[in-house]
């Protein structure tokens, strides 16, 4: 009995962590290229609503997912134009993007509140693997988007650390002038990675509206975009550590629901709902102390626009 509760919570942790994971992976790519995009929350919401609209109309969650990527990517492209080409302040532009995304998603989603999704991403246990004790029910009895994230993490890790393009990506975030002097196209690459980062944020949003809680609610990300931004710092801009962090936050999220449901523990609901955000603050304090002590930290050129002819 104890065991099944644990398994349920752990499985829920993975599910709840997945949207944060997608968004955090996207932000890692973006920040590694030297661009700080605080519009994650907005891009997630736009991804969630656009994905939902298309999925309702086409009755295909995959079509919805794809459109979510494109819509959030388009939003990121606007951000890229403002911050890379026009060299606008990245923090302010990112905040504006979140506000814009929140408003637009609320407006677009109004007619879809309460309309059911004909077909969502359902749990699809993988044969054989899902029979492994503990690991099976926790990791391999999920939906296909969760499995996709399993593949994405090592892929991204390999790309970052083992390939030429990954080297260039890390370099433009650390020292764009050095990369530029060696013929790396800083502007084109930053555009690319900002847009890919946005698409992944959109994927995180779509996961919420198409798999996690198949429905559309205004502001349904509830700060997960911000948690993803914090998670990037927690993860030291490393995709593998991001998995850990995402499931930790997912776990707290899941635990909140379990505790709410259980009758024998009396904790105020609002206190429980506060937990993920409190955890974010605590984790950031701990990690910041750690990063100061060691020589790890943000990409050196993060949030600094690159200007080749600057004197």
């Amino acid at each position: 009995m104890e065991n099944t509760v644990l398994i349920t919570i752990l499985a829920a942790a993975v599910t709840a962590g997945t949207p944060i994971l997608y968004a955090a992976l996207g932000e890692i790519i973006c920040e590694r290229s030297g661009v700080l995009n605080l519009g994650v929350e907005g891009m997630m919401l736009v991804g969630a609503v656009c994905g939902y609209m298309v999925a309702v109309r086409s009755a295909s969650p995959w079509a919805g997912f794809l459109v979510a990527l494109l819509a959030a990517g388009a939003l990121a492209a606007i951000f890229a134009f403002l911050t890379i080409t026009l060299r606008a302040n990245q923090v302010v532009t990112g905040l504006a993007l979140t506000i814009f995304g929140t408003g637009v998603s609320g407006f677009l989603g109004k007619p879809y509140i309460g309309i059911p999704l004909p077909l969502s991403f359902k749990k699809a246990p993988i044969p054989v693997l899902s029979d492994i004790p503990l690991l099976g029910p926790v990791f391999f009895s999920q939906d296909v988007l969760v499995y996709l994230s399993y593949i994405l993490v090592p892929l991204l890790g390999y790309y970052l650390y083992r390939t030429r393009w990954g080297l260039n990506l890390r370099a433009i975030g650390e020292n764009p002038a050095a990369a530029d002097a060696l013929g790396v196209n800083v502007f084109a690459l930053r555009y690319t990675y900002v847009i890919i980062g946005g698409m992944l944020a959109g994927a995180g949003g779509a996961y919420l509206s198409l798999a996690y809680a198949p429905s559309w609610l205004e502001n349904m990300t509830a700060g997960r975009g911000w948690i993803a931004v914090a998670l990037v710092i927690f993860a030291f801009w490393d995709p593998f550590r991001a998995v850990l962090g995402a499931y930790l936050f997912g776990g707290v999220d899941a635990l909140t629901y379990t505790l709410q449901a259980s009758t024998n523990i009396q904790v105020p609901v609002f206190f429980l709902k506060m937990m993920p955000y409190v955890l974010t603050v605590i984790v950031l304090i701990v990690v910041t102390r750690h990063t100061l002590a060691k020589r790890v930290g943000a990409p050196a050129a993060l949030s600094i626009p690159y200007d080749r002819e600057e004197r």
Binding site: R162, T163, R164, W165, G166, L167, N168, R170, A171, E174, N175, A177, A178, A179, D180, A181, L182, G183, V184, N185, A293, R295, A300, R308, E309, R311
Partner: protein
């Protein structure tokens, strides 16, 4: 001789408000070391940035092996075999040497760092550029980092190597090693261009010299046909007066005394490991050493800006308390930080406000509100006295040239008649004229009885100004000599940590 490997004809490049290059010509041949000589702001770096595709000129043509070329980006220049070592190295600090070399290379998706590391090893042996391919850049000394920059270019089979003030960060010994490497590269058929404003260096290392002045080509001469004196005249455009021999020191009471001082750097590591120094009134104590060996921390500690871990700083009999700049100011410390526009002045404020920064507490400007009219009059007077040229008293100082910024900073620090003046690289990045002015001001203060702690990388400057020279290496004083008895080679060895002498006097 055959046709030049690279030729630039009629290059013009302007920046908003400045013509950096105007109708400049340059021809560089394979197998020669070509010096590009000129004062700061003469347009040397700009010209080379045009050649490497970083800047695009408004007018002019570039020919490579007789073919007209047009570089749209650094990649085009690299593909032709033209590479540059910038004054501020373009290295990615958290990356390894190998990763820095591999950056931007074409090739497959996967990265074979081991193979590249091996090739780096071979190159460094061939050219005498010793460096560990697995080391991370931030772990390397400045000299080693420069070698990485050169290896980067050699790895890309560069045929034209451009170096921007390559010896500015090196000890004399390291500089000589660099010259040997450059000679080897020229022998292999490369063309080497180096930018400099040091005449001595030109005479030592160059074959051909092109002189730029105020963005224009003045002349191209062979080394054997010229002299240091002629080059100086061509570069500055007038005869140099040369500094009068400095009068003998009238050393009297000790003003600054530092006992067993220990402080940490920004990373929390020990930057000063027990320093003992004294400076007397009317004396200039020079601190020599490659930057980053604790000089900055020493200056900041004396200026009251850095927490003292152990030891004691006494200024004119007053023991300086823990990191309190106001107390240092009250004790009579004037401080000229290395970074004029960062720590020295507020870039977006005008000259009046910048001058007032240290003075505003004085009651003569008003008790509660500042009497702006009186302040302006005072500021104008100072600006005239120190010959600071500017567009206006309220124009943001960041628009001023380096020499004028330094004059303004000196005006503020000297106007309070300091007992002790801490000058950190006061002539760094200044042209000959501005450097002369700074030197004159420092000697005036010395004559007026101020004690001066002069931190510099430029041995020539130290020999000219200092009464005694102390050498710093890794947070320790490795030597302290009277300037009259000092030898460059010896100081160089101490700067590199290869030699140490008992510090007596």
């Amino acid at each position: 001789m055959t046709a030049p490997l690279v030729e630039m004809r009629g290059i013009t490049k302007t920046f908003p408000g400045v013509v950096a290059n105007e109708d400049v010509n340059l021809a560089v041949y394979a197998g020669e070391i070509h010096a590009l000589l000129g004062e700061n702001g003469a347009g040397k770096s700009t010209l080379m940035s045009v050649l490497t595709g970083l800047y695009r000129p408004e007018r002019g043509e570039i020919y490579f092996e007789g073919q007209k070329v047009s570089f749209r980006s650094p990649r085009d220049a690299i593909n032709k075999g033209i590479g540059m070592v910038h004054q501020h190295f373009r290295l990615v600090a958290p990356f390894t040497v190998t990763e820095n070399v591999a950056l931007g290379l074409k090739g497959g998706f996967n990265l074979n760092l081991n193979k590249i590391a091996q090739e780096i090893g071979e190159l460094s042996r061939e050219y005498g550029l010793e460096v560990d391919p697995q080391a991370r850049i931030w772990q390397l000394s400045v000299g080693e980092q420069q070698r990485v920059e050169i290896i980067k270019l050699l790895y890309r089979k560069a045929r034209v190597l451009i170096l921007d003030e390559p010896t500015a960060v090196l000890t004399p010994q390291e500089a000589r090693e660099l010259y040997r490497t450059l000679k080897k590269m020229a022998e292999q058929g490369c063309a080497v261009v180096f930018i400099t404003h040091k005449l001595q260096e030109v005479m030592e290392a160059a074959d051909t010299i092109t002189i730029l002045r105020a963005g224009k080509t003045v002349a191209t001469v062979k080394k054997q046909d010229t002299s240091e004196k002629e080059l100086a005249r061509l570069m500055v455009g007038r005869e140099l007066k040369g500094l009068r021999q400095k009068p003998a020191a009238s050393r009297s009471a000790t003003v600054l005394s530092i006992e067993d001082l220990r402080v940490l750097n920004d990373k929390g590591l020990e930057a000063l490991k027990g320093i003992n120094l004294t400076v007397a009134a009317g004396e200039i104590l020079g601190i020599a050493g490659v930057a980053g060996n604790g000089q900055r921390e020493l200056a900041e500690a004396v200026a009251g800006m850095r927490t003292i871990v152990a030891g004691r700083i006494t200024i004119a009999g007053r023991v300086l308390e823990q990191g309190n700049p106001l107390e240092a100011i009250n004790a009579g410390v004037g401080y000229i930080p290395a970074d004029r526009l960062d720590m020295g002045l507020v870039p977006n404020l005008g000259a009046v406000d910048n001058l007032l920064l240290k003075e505003y507490r004085q009651e003569r400007w008003g008790k509660t509100f500042i009497d702006r009219r009186q302040v302006r009059l005072w500021a104008r007077e100072l600006v005239e006295r120190f010959k600071v040229r500017m567009a206006g008293l309220d124009v943001p100082v960041k628009l001023m040239s380096g020499g004028n910024l330094q004059r303004l900073l000196l005006a503020r620090e000297i106007s309070t008649c300091p007992r002790l003046l801490v000058a950190e690289y006061p002539s760094r990045g200044l042209d000959i004229g501005a450097t002369e002015a700074v030197h004159r001001l420092l000697l005036e203060q010395r004559a007026a009885g101020a004690a001066i702690l002069l931190i510099s990388e430029d041995l020539e400057e130290l020999f000219r100004l200092a009464d005694r020279i102390a050498v710093m290496y890794e947070g320790e004083i490795t030597g302290l000599v009277d300037t009259a008895a000092a030898r460059v080679e010896e100081l160089g060895l101490m700067m590199a940590g290869a030699k140490r002498m008992e510090v007596g006097a």
